[in-house]
């Protein structure tokens, strides 16, 4: 963002608030970038000659005579193959020094893909985690968040998913990441020798919160370059979208907007949708898949952030601590992948849909048995067996540290069926039972 010759420099700011400055200027375009006293800012409101700028890093230390220079263009990212393997801040500037990336400068937050030109997603993404691959299969072009409490290892799970997924590029958008988590991501990618296919845009807790607002758009502009121009399969990881929404709330509050539910701006749904809807399966074979993290407070999904997210994304993955096995599992009841129907039993073995449903149903029976036990009622023989099944199912399949192929997951499920149930109790189509039943 260098300044150009003959640029007008303004030196009189009229109003300064915590996040914005207002000054008199002419010839300014909406959404345009500017530098205010050396800090990056963006035009958010123009009323006649009065231009209001949102200063990303906050207005601390700015004075009424600070220099204001308008850049004449909205935020852009230089895109080229050289993005791969690099770490950037929220403005798309290289972290830890390093050469700036040469390439075409593209506006971030660009236009929408014409829905009529989209292709129906149909390619499976294997992660090795049965709670995902078996019960909630993810497909390229899908958008799905992890709903997790802050104490759960969602970043570790996401890093695992990213490395196992056979994506051509992985783009990490980190919002309010702690420095420790950032270094964790970095070392995991480094150790896996995957750095050359990873691009990161990171705003850590050390950076001003409003800067976060640029991160998803930066990450998705890079993703669109690789998916649209290069026809690659791109996986975008966004963590943590709750902190992104919090930054939206801060800005809307400073702009005197009337808050709606949970102090969130009234436009939260549209703001989130603009990001998530960038997930797409393209006709050229390229795709953008978004896996995000939305942290919950005390598992409450009725809060405006997870609630709006749920209406936008194609399902959600819940992490839960299973007290019986002491492991973190992907909750089979509350998790959902809306696009799994497009691949299960078609791209995977024919028994996949039925085995998946039977497992969840039997697991539900175990949950009922547990309630019975807690309420002091007697357990039947079936209840006892269901509980044992649930323990094994949780340990051998649902736990996030399991890493096996989908066929092996199905075989494991069949051996668990045989170990604890009769064929009738499992209630799967006759022909599948004949083919796959494993005598205990």
């Amino acid at each position: 963002m260098t300044t150009r010759a003959f640029q007008k420099i303004y030196t009189k700011i009229d109003n300064i608030t915590k996040a914005t400055v207002t000054l008199r200027a002419t010839g300014v375009g909406n959404d345009e970038l500017a530098t205010v006293g050396g800090k990056l800012a963006q035009v958010v409101k123009i009323m006649g000659e009065n231009v209001t700028l949102q200063v990303f890093a906050g207005t601390e230390g700015l004075a009424t005579d600070s220099e204001v220079v308008f850049h004449g263009e909205p935020p852009k990212l230089r895109v080229s193959d050289n993005l791969a393997g690099r770490f950037f801040n929220a403005y798309g500037e290289p972290l830890e020094g390093g050469q700036a990336v040469e390439g075409e400068a593209r506006e971030i937050g660009g236009p929408t893909v014409n829905p009529f030109r989209r292709i129906q997603p149909s390619e499976l993404i294997a992660t090795g985690i049965a709670g995902i691959d078996l019960n909630n299969t993810i497909v390229t072009g899908q958008k799905i968040p992890f709903f997790a409490d802050p104490d759960q290892p969602y970043n570790a799970v996401m890093a695992n998913v990213a490395l196992r997924a056979k994506a051509d590029k992985i783009i990490l958008g980190g919002m309010g990441l702690t420095n420790d988590d950032f270094l964790y991501f970095k070392s995991v990618f480094e150790n896996a020798g995957a750095l050359d296919r990873i691009v990161s845009f990171v705003n850590t807790t050390e950076n001003p919160p409003v800067e976060r607002l640029l991160v998803p758009d930066m990450a998705l502009t890079a993703a669109e370059y690789f998916a649209v121009d290069k026809g690659e399969k791109v996986l975008v990881l966004l963590t943590d979208m709750t902190l992104y929404a919090d930054a939206l709330a801060i800005v809307s509050n400073r702009m005197d907007q009337i808050p709606s539910k949970d102090s969130m701006p009234g436009s939260l749904y549209s703001d989130l949708a603009k990001i998530y809807e960038k997930a797409v399966q393209l006709p050229n074979g390229g795709s953008i898949t978004i896996i995000a993290v939305t942290t919950l407070s005390g598992g409450d999904i009725t809060h405006a952030i997870p609630d709006n997210t749920g209406y936008i994304t194609e399902g959600q993955l819940f992490l839960r601590n299973d007290s019986d096995t002491g492991k973190v599992i992907v909750d089979p009841f509350r998790s959902l992948s809306r696009l799994k129907q497009l691949v299960i039993g078609k791209k995977t073995r024919e028994d996949h849909p039925q085995v998946m449903n039977a497992c969840v149903r039997l697991y539900a029976d175990a949950a009922n048995a547990k309630t019975k036990l807690e309420n002091g009622f007697d357990l039947s023989d079936y209840d006892e067996r269901a509980l044992k099944f649930a323990h094994d199912y949780s340990e051998k399949l649902l736990a996030i540290d399991v890493n096996i192929g989908i066929t092996e997951m199905l075989d494991t499920a069949w051996s668990l069926f045989a170990a604890y149930f009769s064929r009738e109790e499992v209630a799967i189509k006759e022909e599948l039972i004949k083919k796959y039943w494993k005598e205990a």
Binding site: R118, V228, S270, A304, G315
Partner: protein
């Protein structure tokens, strides 16, 4: 001369324009951003400042940029050639747009102005006509598309001449009308209508008196939707709103289906794009797409156009209704439309109502729902617009403003419950919370008496009571334990489960079960009610649950079997046998 103006202020997609002449509320204008023009609508006027909402991105817009007012409100183009098209919220044809992305200011024709249509006259010289009178017709797909006196022509006219049968372009004059002062008016096959105004070119709007069959059992049997009626489907995410709407759009007994995808996921629309051109409508043998118009303004498309999309859909519906057709308009989801209103109201700094929605939300919603209805046309024929909307209540809480406002306006309420969705009981329509006011209409009662069976409504209420009593019994069982209640509590509970599994649940992904014609519904329902009326006198609760589990299994197999096939009849015999041998 048209009014022009200059941009004087910009707040996101609200632009303040200093106008040099008269400006009308809701007037359309074009704002020039560099060398592209984007459409906008006037939403407030203060002195010579017009506040306009731009239906596109305002990035890069500057103070002093040029604005041209158009002298009319947001209009839909109505002419032959609308069917099978895929529009955005402003009726731009998405298929005609170039490139992968929707570039700013993409404007495409809603119809093909070059195409010729085989016109047949219906009126003759000397006929007295008024707005919406039929002058002629052309065949559009398999629909006889009536060419009408434009809706905007008020007063009475005499036909001077009508074109001979032959091929014409939509812009060719097909009739000349003379008004009461003797002035001549040429009429073409294309007309325009402001989308936010209801088309009122009919003689009467009677109460709905027929049922619209949807093939969805919990709707048709338990809470029927009337032709020309209104209904809405609220439900938390994951409860199956969209799957249910898709099922209805595939199966409903309507001539024309208009699907408004309003602020929802793009991949869901892609599913319609992919499926509808291939699926066949069993009633007519034609492809579903031939009777369908899709208005698609997904969640990432401009917010203001989202608000316009529902009106565009409704206006096209009213146009086909005036041809004497049965139209079903569906919007998914009206909450996104309400949120668009909220964003606008917020930027205008209006004093907010509940949850920051505009104060007049309730009025706007009921005004919109009131555009649906059965109407009597001036030639004595009838046409109808049936409207079905979904609502996405925040946090799944039905006590929020959009749900509550819609509840006041819509006559059918299909509440999707999280509990039913969690236990995979689909469609998750809650049998106790949901209702259809049409069951109380004497007209509908008479219709059902005639078309299904005498006193059918009483039978429906009987089933509802069984479900209610079953739920109460189940609550007791859960509190007191299986042994803590008399056996007939279990029987009551299992009878309600029988209705639930056989009638209320339906597999939308199964080819046979997905669509259940009314004749089949009648037979199944009567069988189930007949069993519920019996007293079995079980020895203990285990015998009771075992009996019903077996029975439910047989009924479900029957639901999956083709109507009156060998397999179907086989299950029928098995059930009779099973019940007799108890």
């Amino acid at each position: 001369m048209k009014t022009t103006g200059r941009v004087n202020g910009i707040i996101a997609n609200i632009v303040i324009v200093k106008a040099d002449g008269p400006v009308g509320q809701n007037e359309i204008c074009y704002v020039w951003v560099g060398d592209t023009k984007v459409m906008a609508e006037v939403i407030k006027v203060m002195g010579d400042n017009a506040y306009v909402q731009v239906f596109d991105s305002t990035r890069g817009l500057r103070i002093g940029d040029r604005v041209e007012f158009q002298g009319h409100m947001l209009e839909a183009t109505l002419a032959p050639g609308l069917l099978s098209r895929n529009y955005d919220g402003l009726q731009n044809d998405l298929e005609k747009m170039d490139g992968l992305f929707i570039a700013r200011g993409s404007i495409t024709d809603p119809i093909d102005f070059g195409a010729e249509w085989p016109f047949t006259p219906l009126a003759k010289a000397g006929d007295k006509v008024s707005a919406a009178s039929w002058l002629g017709e052309v065949k559009e797909q398999w629909v006889m598309h009536k060419i009408m006196v434009p809706f905007t022509m008020t007063g009475d006219y005499t036909v001077k001449s009508v074109a001979q049968a032959g091929n014409y372009k939509v812009t060719d004059t097909v009739a000349v009308l003379v008004d009461e002062e003797g002035r001549e008016h040429a009429v073409t096959m294309v007309q325009k209508w402001p989308v936010k105004q209801a088309v009122r070119c009919y003689t009467e709007k009677p109460r709905p008196s027929r049922v619209m069959e949807t093939g969805v059992r919990p709707i048709d049997t338990f809470n029927p939707l009337a032709e020309g009626g209104t209904g809405f489907i609220p439900g938390p995410f994951g409860a199956g709103k969209t799957v249910l709407q898709h099922a209805i759009s595939k199966q409903a007994e309507a001539d024309i289906i208009i699907i408004v995808a309003c602020g929802e996921r793009a991949n869901e629309v892609v599913e319609i794009f992919k499926e509808f051109p291939e699926l066949v409508d069993p009633r007519t043998g034609h492809k579903l797409m031939e009777r369908t118009i899709i208005i698609c303004n997904t969640s990432n498309m401009p917010v203001a156009a989202r608000e316009a999309s529902v009106y565009t859909g409704m206006t096209i519906g009213e146009y086909y209704r005036s041809m004497g057709l049965k139209v079903l308009v569906m919007a998914d989801s009206t909450s996104r439309w309400a949120q668009a209103l909220r964003e606008m109201s917020n930027r205008l700094e209006e004093l907010p109502g509940q949850d920051a929605f505009p104060m007049d939300l309730s009025a706007i919603i009921s005004n919109f729902y009131s555009r649906a209805g059965l109407v009597k046309l001036s030639n004595g024929q009838t046409g109808s617009v049936t409207f079905l909307g979904t609502v996405s209540p925040a946090g799944g809480n039905l006590k929020e403003p959009v749900t509550e406002s819609t509840k006041k306006a819509a006559r059918c309420f299909y509440a999707l419950s999280q509990g039913r969705a969690d236990s995979k009981r689909y469609p998750a329509i809650d049998p106790l919370d949901s209702y259809s006011k049409y069951l109380e209409y004497p007209e509908i009662r008479a219709y059902l008496d005639e078309h299904i069976e005498k006193d059918w409504v009483d039978l429906v209420y009987e089933g509802k009571t069984i479900v209610q009593r079953g739920k109460e019994a189940n609550d007791q069982i859960n509190i007191l334990g299986d042994d803590g209640v008399p056996v007939d509590y279990h029987e009551r509970f299992w009878k309600s489960e029988l209705i639930d599994f056989v009638i209320l649940q339906q597999d939308a992904f199964d080819e046979i079960d997905a669509n259940c014609p009314i004749e089949r519904q009648k037979m199944m329902y009567k069988m189930v009610i007949d069993i519920c009326r019996r007293e079995f006198g079980f020895a203990d609760f285990e015998q009771c649950s075992q009996f019903f589990k077996g029975l439910i299994n047989l009924f479900r197999q029957m639901n999956y079997a083709e109507w009156q096939s060998e397999k179907f009849n086989n299950y029928l015999r098995q059930i009779e046998e099973y019940v007799k041998n108890k």
